[in-house]
């Protein structure tokens, strides 16, 4: 078994027994990156020198070997700021940006003796579903190099899938953790809005954004989420609620669990192969004693339209800060207004400009009520759909994505086709509830994701369900990486 296929418990145990050193663990990560990333292109920036230095220090003093993340190699999406380590959000406008502080999640990794291995590629400012919107290069899907890894956290998913790091962090605004997790065959969790501090996450849509973990199995995911969760004085939208020990929920027991399956999640546009694979997984949960019933989330079909108005409006305000004044790349011009315009027009990519334009339009005088306010009212209806179902059920289950990973170039020319790809993940962000994608099999050789949605702040039940399924199905999906490893 490859080292990174072992869970954190086994790795911790070996580190404790000195059967393995932190340096060996970190070197394994860089060795795998060197071998594989020339083909996958997941990393934008490596933190090699600092990471090995920290590993050495932890080995020498044995640091605090009881710390939750002791010695664990972790990749971080490039929209999460890291002190003195280049952070670009995959945009040219931040090509030279070295943050002055760490995001709260990075402080938590450091405080618990985890090791930041490097920064992971993404769609520029997290806007996209394929990684094709990175302004640096495209990350490829480890299962098939002609296909996208998904997005926007495509680098985070691909790096874990290809075994370059055992853990990574991503962010999810409309599906940006769950969709790439599904496409790359790994576990990805979008926590409840407010569960994890957004301080230091470069904002896309502040009312929707959440940071969450990618791992190779459910138990590790629960462990990593616990390590990064909690209220934060620097983020007034972080929730002051207890963080339970999520791993305690992993009993393997789902007898009597009430599972709702929304009929809208198996509608038109969802491929037959995805439907079949997901239904098989739901049947497996049923055989473990879960009670499965069909329900309706009647406003689901309006989620994509509401989302693109709301997310783009928030983005147009958030991205106003990139003006070439205090940081980032500045274009030369004779006066201030021209400098702003030139800097932003040269620094932002096409999709980012499209969303800034859409958001500015929706918020502009005369259109605000018709589009922005209307979308926020529809958001309320979507949220109520979930509230109603959760009165009678513990979890909502369906596919994560309508199809398996699509081909590079297949959807990039038509924004609306690309947006439609997020139809099954967006409602979750609008409602603020937590959801995981866990691998549930292959269709034509490509991974399919099972999405499990929970009540607000009830990640524990999601993990219990995902873990029981994972143990029973025992899939252990790993890409062959044919033609990848040199």
């Amino acid at each position: 078994m490859a080292l990174f296929d072992e869970g954190y418990k086994s790795i911790h145990d070996r580190l404790h027994k000195k059967d393995l050193s932190v340096t060996e663990l970190v070197e394994e990560s860089y060795k795998n990156i060197q071998k594989t990333d020339a083909s996958i292109h997941a990393f934008l920036t490596l933190n090699k020198e600092a990471a090995l230095e920290k590993a050495k220090a932890l080995d020498a003093e044995r640091g605090n070997a009881d710390a939750a993340l002791f010695g664990l190699p972790i990749g971080v999406k490039d929209n999460i700021v890291t002190k003195n380590l280049k952070t670009t959000a995959a945009s040219q406008i931040l090509a030279n940006f070295e943050p002055l502080h760490n995001a709260t999640v990075v402080e938590k990794i450091n405080a618990q003796n985890g090791i930041v291995i490097g920064k992971l590629n993404m769609d520029e400012f997290a806007m996209g579903s394929s990684n094709e919107n990175s302004s640096y290069f495209k990350t490829l899907n480890p299962w098939d190099l002609t296909r996208v890894p998904g997005g926007s956290s495509g680098g985070s998913a691909a790096a874990v899938s290809a075994g370059m790091v055992p853990y990574s962090l991503g962010s999810d605004t409309g599906g940006s953790i769950r969709q790439p997790a599904a496409f790359c065959g790994v576990v990805g969790m979008k926590p409840t809005y407010g569960r994890v501090s957004r301080f230091g996450l470069i904002a896309f849509a502040s009312s929707l954004d959440q940071i969450g973990p990618f791992t190779r199995n459910v138990e590790d995911n629960a462990h990593l989420l616990q390590a990064i969760s909690g209220v934060d004085v620097y983020d007034s939208t972080s929730a002051n609620v207890d963080v339970p020990d999520f791993t305690k929920a992993l009993t393997g027991e789902v007898k009597g669990l009430r599972v709702a399956v929304p009929k809208e999640y198996f509608g038109e546009g969802v491929s037959e192969e995805v439907k079949t694979t997901v239904k098989k997984a739901i049947a497996q949960l049923e055989s473990l004693g879960a009670v499965v019933e069909e329900v309706s989330l009647p406003h689901s079909k309006y989620a994509v339209a509401a989302y693109y108005i709301i997310a783009s409006s928030e983005a147009s305000a958030n991205l106003a800060r990139f003006d070439g004044v205090r940081y980032g790349v500045r274009a030369a011009a004779d006066n201030l207004i021209d400098m702003y315009k030139k800097t932003r027009s040269e620094g932002f990519g096409e999709e980012v400009k499209r969303r800034i334009m859409l958001g500015t339009f929706a918020l502009s005088s005369g259109y605000y009520d018709a589009y922005y306010k209307k979308a926020q009212k529809v958001r309320t209806l979507i949220k109520r759909d979930f509230e109603k179902v959760f009165e009678n059920y513990d979890v909502v289950i369906g596919p994560t994505t309508p199809t398996t990973a699509f081909k590079i170039g297949e959807k990039i020319d038509d924004p609306l086709t690309m947006y439609a790809n997020d139809i099954l993940t967006i409602p979750v962000n609008l409602a603020g509830v937590p959801a995981i994608s866990v691998p549930c099999g292959l269709a034509n050789g490509l991974p399919v994701g099972l999405q499990i949605i929970g009540k607000p702040f009830d990640e524990a039940t999601i993990y219990r369900t995902a873990h029981a399924y994972e143990q029973a199905a025992n899939l252990k999906l790993t890409p062959a990486l044919e033609g990848v490893n040199a």
């Binding site: 070295e98 070439g324 926020q376 603020g432």
Partner: protein, 97 residues
């Protein structure tokens, strides 16, 4: 599909501090028209009396103690600035001649 004129695109571009070539303006007029047209399906829903959701959590006015603590040193704050002069961020001329 909604009709978005080239003039509207130029007006919104100015508000967003962006500039586009004539071809780009044309492409954006079409793209935005398509997306806005798509969003018009929201009008199928009766939202009379429905309150807006701006935020999913039931929290408001998070306060903290008004305590002085360390802040960034000036040279650190200027580290990423594209241009500086005498310890301040330098920008192109704001006012005309």
């Amino acid at each position: 599909m909604a009709d978005i004129s080239k003039e509207q695109v130029k007006h919104v571009a100015h508000l967003a501090r962006l500039t586009f070539t004539e071809e780009e303006v044309e492409a954006f007029a079409k793209d935005l028209g398509d997306i806005i047209g798509f969003a018009e399906q929201l009008n199928e829903l009766d939202t009379e009396g429905v309150e807006e959701t701006t935020h999913v959590l039931d929290i408001a006015n998070v306060l903290r103690e008004d305590k002085v603590h360390d802040s960034l040193a000036r040279e650190e704050a200027l580290k990423n600035a594209p241009a500086e002069q005498e310890g301040q961020v330098k920008v192109p001329k704001v006012l005309g001649e």
